[in-house]
Symmetry: C2
């Protein structure tokens, strides 16, 4: 699928930064309400005005076949709404039972990105009233050290969810360590028993993996009908693509799974009413891959070089946003789409776990 | 999908009976070897001569667009070959360790069809050297009675596989009973932990469910390439359709799943290089559903009325054989296709289990 990358990456410098999205959202809302055809280059000009980092010279002209624009599926705002709902439920539970949900995170080593994720999870927990527990272990810990902490959290009645931050150091057996997490506290939903229940009709998993659950929640909250629709999932990882396909199938979509061995990903994807892309390849999904009116959920978070950015890189999705937003009826931006939903779903799973363990309805 | 039934059923009276298949096989072998176009009506005449039940008046003329014929995937003969291989392995194991694999079957009630299945399984075990164990419980047994027998077989070191014959009486909780079977002896492969491992990359189930495993074995033994091919699975039951899709996907096919909510099953199926149909609807899949050259595995075993048969009915597949065999490159007949493979795979799973438990390579 690498050949599909071509030059969308260069156009991707026009990608929206978070604070720009509200501008675009207002503009496109206006344009839909007055039924005026929308020129994306015009939109780029608006973006340019709003963004000190944006460089118009980096934007190649895009040949447009349609001049409509997709609705932006605003994950950030939906995630906020969900977190507010969770905070309310946690208060109600605390008032009713005196119990507060607890989430334990085990971090091994000192990878900067992992530390950032863990810090963000902790902050998100605090914001909704979930109590955080942490175990920080040095890089050279043994498997037994990690298993000991998992066992402690498994036994601790104030902990309702346990996360092992991945990746683990290379000398550890990830499968063995993840399997040690009690199935009742596996808020990541990665345990094969959960995945099996997700796949089976008439069975329900205790937890649905957070990112695909977030994708489904976005579809639901934006009123996207799933039953009877064609859905294509691009990528088949254990943590996103595969469970996303199982969820869509459970919701009675007709699913197809596209992956690196698929010979004609473009042709198959163009049949879909709903696309979830979790390939981890920047700008893989082009405008020509999309059936007009399809709904596009972009799970990819791919760093690409960007001399204009203070960090030297920026994050883009799997989907060539500029092209696809002229064909799709709705699309998630990156960042600000699926990303914020993942953490909201982790909080949601932790709350559900506490409710289930304490039989609180 | 019901509308697709139309009148193929009436033509299906030309379906092969087991003893006819050898005739057809020889004929089509001949026709392929001398590259003569094959007229299926001519074949029907040959069938007619070989079958006292066949009535030519029931066969409507079929409009043919191509006049080639699919290779018949002979499940009966492949199953025999596999059973011979298993018998050889069991002898080797017995010689090496003194241990013989054991399969326990639990039958509750006195359904005629279940009794027949259990008797056939027992006979198949005896034929390859697997020791059979049985528990026959009356219809009005309690769940606890059944669970007690499962526990006994779980603990019995001479039992390596446990089957609970389905359906269970209505007053029993099937999920609870199936979950009681030790995962190490779940030769049916229906435990959600097995299904989860089947779905996940980098994980392997202890046992693959017998019928989909049989489908894959047929594809392998007939040299059908799977990697990179489009595969469509029709039907999504926990015991066939869903695990078949997961197996095809693990073998790097690009899978789509068609089911009762699918709006255009014909259009999607026509894209497939490989089709596994497990819908349980007689003659659902017509010739027009098939891409020329596709390989078709028909899991359906559907009884339809047949005044000509001494039993008053006969068994047909999901696939309208007469139409599809003129379009596909290879096809399984019903009966004699997937059916015999299911029991061969059960024996194979029991042997694998005994080898694993006793660490015999």
């Amino acid at each position: 699928m690498a050949s599909a990358l071509s030059d969308c990456s260069s156009r991707a410098t026009a990608r929206l930064l978070p604070f720009q999205r509200s501008v675009q959202s207002r503009v496109s809302q206006f344009q839909r309400s007055v039924s005026i055809a929308w020129n994306p280059l015009g939109m780029n000009a608006i973006r340019s005005a709003a963004s000190p980092h944006w460089s118009s010279s980096a934007v190649a002209p895009v040949a447009m076949t349609t001049e409509t624009s997709a609705k932006v599926i605003d994950g950030k705002s939906v995630a906020k709404q969900i977190k507010d709902e969770i905070a309310g439920e946690i208060l109600r539970m605390k008032d009713g039972t005196g119990i507060v949900p607890g989430l334990a995170v085990i971090l091994v080593g000192s990878r900067k990105d992992s530390q950032t994720y863990v810090r963000n999870k902790k902050k998100a927990c605090e914001a909704v009233g979930i109590k955080s527990y942490e175990a920080n272990l040095p890089e050279d810990s043994t498997e037994e050290d990690v298993l000991k902490h998992i066992a402690r959290f498994n036994d601790d009645p104030s902990v309702h969810g346990i996360l092992v931050q991945l990746p683990l150091p290379r000398h550890m057996n990830e499968e063995k360590i993840l399997n040690a997490v009690s199935i009742e506290k596996d808020v990541d939903g990665f345990h094969p028993l959960n995945i099996g229940r997700l796949a089976m009709q008439g069975r329900d998993p205790l937890f649905v993996p957070c990112t695909p659950k977030g994708c489904m929640e976005l579809l639901h909250r934006y009123g996207v009908e799933i039953k009877g629709k064609r859905a294509v999932v691009i990528g088949r990882s254990n943590i996103v693509g595969m469970p996303a396909a199982l969820l869509l199938q459970k919701a009675n979509a007709t699913i197809s799974m596209v992956h690196s061995y698929t010979k004609n990903p473009e042709e198959i994807t163009r049949q879909a009413d709903i696309i979830i892309s979790a390939a981890g390849v920047a700008n893989l999904v082009r405008g020509s891959w999309i059936k007009p009116g399809a709904v596009v959920i972009d799970v990819g978070i791919n760093p690409i070089d960007d001399a204009e950015s203070p960090r030297g890189y920026r994050l883009v999705g799997d989907v060539c946003y500029e092209e696809v937003c002229t064909v799709a009826s709705a699309i998630t931006p990156v960042p600000g789409g699926v990303g914020p939903m993942t953490i909201a779903m982790l909080l949601s799973n932790t709350l559900s776990s506490a409710k289930r363990i304490h039989n609180f309805k």
